[in-house]
């Protein structure tokens, strides 16, 4: 019998801190997950009964292989995330993973532009920290509804990151959508080499459109409802252009990061 990787992890929750209204930062002892990269996710069991039945995919928000720790950032958006948010330090969480393919090309030396909408910042923050550490250039654009629904500046500054933030109600940074920011930026003289984005589907559609017309490659982190998380159930598919043909691809296994050029935003 060949040695197999661990899939199931019982991880000690070291801290659960609300860093913005409804945004919970989990610090976990998870040595076997700490090698995961930005864009990969864990599949979290939020409760212990059969309701809610399924796990919830949650991006790895930060991983520290040396310390054997990872962080998750969970925004309450329904029954499962609400249940998760109630977990207390000292409890054990039940995770599967790490799953999915992370953002590619994160070690490129040319500048990357990271574009996040709301909780979509969870994996991009990790990408930003990694580039920051490696001394690689990047810009980090972030959009949200309002100030209270975004982590405070200190949260980013503590990691040496200073995202450019806009809010829909103008309560923090400029007023507007992060895609408008991106549009402006792409119209500028010096274009970034590559865009990485994560956020709600309409935002991603617009990001893909903008990048395409600017001729800048873009990778998107897609969301989808999942059951297995490993590619077995075919439940999480999205339409993707493969060699000129539209085919279904599994967000969990073939993604969650897809080439923005290929994704079809038909639903």
């Amino acid at each position: 019998m060949n040695r197999r990787a661990e899939i199931a992890h019982r991880c000690l929750l070291l801290a659960n801190k609300e860093i913005a209204r409804g945004w919970h930062l989990f610090e976990l002892e998870a040595p076997l997950l700490a090698h995961a990269g930005p864009g990969q996710f864990v599949h979290l069991r939020t409760g212990s009964s059969t309701d809610p039945l399924l796990r919830r995919p949650v991006s790895i928000h930060y991983a520290d292989p040396a310390a054997g720790r990872i962080r998750l950032l969970i925004r309450i958006s329904g029954s499962g995330t609400a249940l998760a948010a109630r977990r207390k330090a000292g409890e054990e969480l039940d995770l599967l993973g790490p799953f999915g393919r992370g953002f590619p090309f994160l070690d490129e030396t040319a500048p990357a532009l990271l574009v996040a909408g709301g909780i979509g910042m969870a994996p991009l923050f990790f990408a930003a920290v990694q580039r920051q550490r490696a001394g690689l250039p990047f810009e980090f654009f972030m959009g949200g509804q309002s100030d209270a629904l975004l982590p405070p500046d200190e949260y980013f500054l503590a990691h040496g990151i200073a995202p450019l933030i806009v809010t829909e109600d103008g309560s923090r940074g400029g007023r507007g959508l992060v895609t408008a920011l991106l549009e402006e930026r792409l119209a500028g003289a010096v274009k970034p080499l590559r865009v990485h984005a994560c956020g709600p589907a309409p935002m991603l559609a617009r990001v893909a459109e903008l990048a395409r017309s600017a001729g800048v490659p873009v990778h998107l982190s897609l969301e989808s409802r999942m059951a297995c998380g490993v590619g077995a159930c075919l439940g999480c598919v999205v339409h993707v252009n493969v060699d000129g043909k539209v085919e279904y691809r599994r967000v969990c296994r073939d993604g969650p990061i897809f080439d923005g050029e290929a994704v079809c935003f038909d639903n």
Partner: protein, 311 residues
């Protein structure tokens, strides 16, 4: 991997180390979990349903969670039998446990053709005929409702497939006993039940059905009591062995099906919550046999029926 002689069985010719089967559609073609879970923890793996032609499947969303249940509307997405033969079949030996091919068609001819192709393949230990999928318009469930249709379809498959033949039933048939008897008399070696129950969820904000396919199939613990009852009724109707499934997530759940009359049990949805479910259930079964001092789990098959005089 558990090799306890008290759990081993020969299911109509399929040699299984234990009575646990990965349910069709919930374990891909056997390899999606392989980097983490040893397939030999299973007695057998039922592969994702295959059709003659490749199928793209249903438009998303394909999944909706319901109280203690999962609605799915995959729509039998699969690469078709030709791809299966060429790309998947050669790999199946590496699984280390028997593989059961699950087939679906849009006509009796489709089923017959698929079964004929699979006949004699060493890599496929048995064929499971899915006549109960609620997620495809033509084919699937419409075949499984009427005893006469079932008899015709199973008979046609039986003519061309000589290996262990499993027929998968649903509950849409008002009278499960009649359908079970029809499959048995047409030559099925084993019956498996139940497939998912047809259900739907409506999104109250968009005011539309939530699933891309409108309806889906309900699986998971929510359907367990209904599934146990179906096994109970089928066990009354036929004498061929049964594979019970529907919401099994623990050894206790598996034992309910076994006591009701199932010789083996399949686990689908619970894999998504707990990928080590086969190992855990096997350990639980061993503990139960220890506690009760039993020499083989088969002493339990249908035991609840005997206790109640099969009432």
């Amino acid at each position: 991997m558990i090799t306890d002689p008290r759990l081993a069985l020969d299911l109509a010719g399929v040699k299984m180390q234990n009575p646990l089967i990965a349910a069709s559609g919930c374990y891909g073609f056997g390899f999606d979990y392989i980097q983490w879970v040893d397939p030999r923890e299973w007695g057998a793996i039922a592969l994702k349903g295959i059709t003659l032609e490749p199928r793209a499947g249903n438009p998303p969303p394909r999944l909706a969670e319901t109280p203690s249940g999962l609605l799915n509307a995959i729509g039998l997405q699969n690469p078709g039998i030709a791809f299966f033969l060429k790309e998947i079949r050669p790999l199946l030996r590496e699984l280390g446990c028997p593989a059961i091919a699950n087939i679906a068609g849009e006509s009796v001819d489709h089923y017959r053709e698929l079964a004929a192709i699979l006949d004699g393949l060493g890599e496929v230990s048995a064929v499971e005929v899915n006549i109960s999928c609620p997620n495809v318009r033509c084919g699937g469930i419409s075949f499984g409702r009427d005893p006469a249709t079932v008899e015709k379809l199973v008979g046609a498959v039986r003519q061309v497939y000589r290996g262990p033949l499993i027929v998968k039933l649903s509950l849409e048939a008002g009278d499960i006993g009649a359908v079970a008897r029809a499959a048995e008399s047409a030559g099925a070696d084993v019956l498996s039940l139940i497939n998912t129950l047809k259900g739907m969820v409506i999104d109250i904000h968009s005011r539309r059905p939530f699933l891309g396919n409108i309806t889906g199939g309900l699986s998971g613990p929510a359907i367990r009591p209904v599934a146990v009852r179906a096994v109970w009724e089928a066990a009354e109707a036929v004498s061929i062995p049964l594979i019970g499934m529907g919401g099994i997530a623990s050894a206790e759940d598996a034992l309910q099906f076994i006591l009701a009359g199932a010789s083996a049990v399949a686990v689908g949805t619970a894999n998504f919550v707990n990928p080590h479910i086969a190992r855990e259930i096997n350990l639980g079964l061993q503990r139960y046999l220890d506690d009760k001092g039993l020499r083989h789990y088969s002493e339990l098959v249908g035991a609840a029926r005997r206790e109640t005089d099969g009432r």
